[in-house]
Amino acid sequence: MIKLTDLSKKYGVKKVVSKVNLSLTTNKLTAIIGPNGAGKSTLLAMISRLVPSDTGEIFLDHQSLKTWKQNSLAKKLSLLKQASSFELKITVKELVEFGRFPYSKGHLTEVDHQKVNQALAILGLKDLVNEDISTLSGGQLQRAYIALVLAQDTDYILLDEPLNNLDMKYEVQIMKTLRYLVKELGKTIIIVIHDLNFAASYADEIIAMKNGKIFKSGLTNKIIDEKVLSKLYEIPIQIQNISGKPFCLYFN
């Protein structure tokens, strides 16, 4: 499990995350929501050690993150950041194979190939394996990256706005894949997401953040609530039930 105690981060004088205390439940899909600048991405980056925290501790399986070996951590927890594009001539398969680096250090074994193929299959990339990643559409690239994270085969998967650049079909497909990973493979997934309706439909638990603090957290149906959300985003938000699913309306 992941436990955060008194976690804070400042950029210059601006407090981005302040005194966050939180326990994240294992084997669940947890969504982090909140307005722009709430500190969601920074929180995720701190948990994955990309950004050092100023104060506070992060515990991963009861062990402080600082004492984890970098390579062991890479087998335990992985993060996909928003918008990671680069100029590199490699194929989809080669990209996904990098996910096996913590295990094989570049010398792929039979198990590694299996995991890579499995990840490619789950993300529906089988037809694209030999495509150059520079020729992919935004959605395809996003899926390739998720496949990389999947091939890394970690218990904890953190995703920072994974639905960016995707059309509705793939948005739904990705969310279903994430559910499948939680349910069938026992992963723990934490995802920063802006679309409330996706959070409402697919997340087990929701953490609402505002101004660097935890605004409210709990089971999805506790957070997807007209009062809570309207206060969180400071605009009136209505919730309608359409075919048994909660639906947030915030267009006027």
């Binding site: 970098q70 993060l79 950041k81 990671s84 680069f86 490699i90 080669e94 990098f98 680096f101 570049g106």
Partner: protein, 321 residues
């Protein structure tokens, strides 16, 4: 992937043929029957070219991966100027004449040691201060070059002018003035460093994905950056000590290898790059000195070509991206 495996050996063979042909041309062209003399003179240069070619291409390709920038060369860190300063200082404080005798291998090692220490301090400082700020790295490098050059000039002015003149040519290496007594020690140092990079090359491949992604895959970026900077500066140090500074050789070689080898695999880039560098050096020397009989040092021809290539790349990248 399959396409690469099939074609890479072919490319290496093609490069090897080029290298061998240019070697033969270089060694045999217009010897005027004076075989032994020409051979011994030219084979010295040949060895230097091989060592410098390998050191430069390994160092530059690694440096460009580390900085995620294909326009940079490690010489930009101010190492060339540092080399001259160290040489001048050693000469200034210890009587240069003594050192130029039997102890010169010690001088060589001392120079390289000082350069490595300097680079370690610089790298440490920059990594702590800039946290990957490339602009800072570049500017500090440029400023340090001027600073070090100025101190060098100061020491040279303060020195006894006659003594300085007499020893200047001996102290400062160039393609026309290769210190062949350094070959064995230089070869050993280069070999060790190159083997180190060879083992790190799979990790370097991952670095292509960006520092964040690499961290995510379990690579300790700060410590990797640190060790690589030390290795890179040692390689450049050895190369500079052998033939003097050549800023743009690495830039040309690295970029030609990216195009010609067309892969992100560092092992293939290293092999290809080294062969390309050796070929360019030997063939360049052959054309410049033996065919056109130009009085110009090869290094200034390389600087010129490198500069033009640089502009070309700037324009090309702008048009295509």
């Amino acid at each position: 992937m399959k396409k690469l495996i099939r074609s890479f050996p072919l490319k290496v063979i093609a490069l090897l043929i080029l290298v061998i042909v240019s070697c033969i041309l270089f060694l045999t062209y217009q010897t005027y029957g004076n075989w032994d003399f020409a051979l011994s003179l030219r084979s010295g240069k040949l060895i230097a070219f091989v060592l410098v070619g390998i050191a430069t291409s390994f160092a530059t390709i690694t440096f460009q991966t580390l900085t995620h920038n294909q326009f940079l060369t490690p010489n930009i860190l101010g190492l060339d100027s540092l080399y001259t300063l160290v040489q001048t200082t050693i000469f200034f404080f210890f009587n240069g004449k003594q050192l130029l005798g039997s102890e010169s291998v010690a001088t060589f090692l001392l120079t390289i040691a000082i350069m490595v220490i300097f680079s370690v301090l610089l790298a440490n400082f920059l990594l702590r201060k800039g946290q990957n700020n490339l602009f800072l790295l570049l500017m500090v490098g440029i400023i340090l070059a001027t600073l070090l050059n100025s101190i060098t000039t100061f020491l040279q002015v303060a020195m006894n002018p006659n003594e300085f003149d007499a020893l200047q040519t001996k102290l400062f290496a160039s393609f026309n003035n290769i210190n062949s007594q350094y070959f064995p020690i230089a070869a050993i140092i280069i070999l060790i460093l190159v083997i180190f990079l060879w083992f790190k090359s799979l990790t370097l491949d991952v670095l292509h994905l960006g520092d964040d992604q690499a961290t995510n895959l379990g690579i300790n970026i700060p410590s990797l950056q640190f060790s690589l900077l030390v290795v890179i500066s040692s390689l450049i140090g050895v190369s500079t000590a052998l033939v003097g500074p050549i800023t743009f050789l690495g830039f040309i070689v690295a970029n030609i290898s990216y195009h010609f080898i067309g892969t992100y695999h560092h092992r293939q880039l290293f092999i290809g790059g080294s062969l390309i560098a050796i070929f360019l050096l030997i063939f360049g020397e052959f054309i410049v000195e033996q065919v056109f009989k130009l009085n110009t040092p090869l290094s200034s021809v390389i600087e010129f070509t490198g500069g033009i290539y640089f502009i070309g790349k700037v324009i090309y990248e702008r048009k295509n991206g």
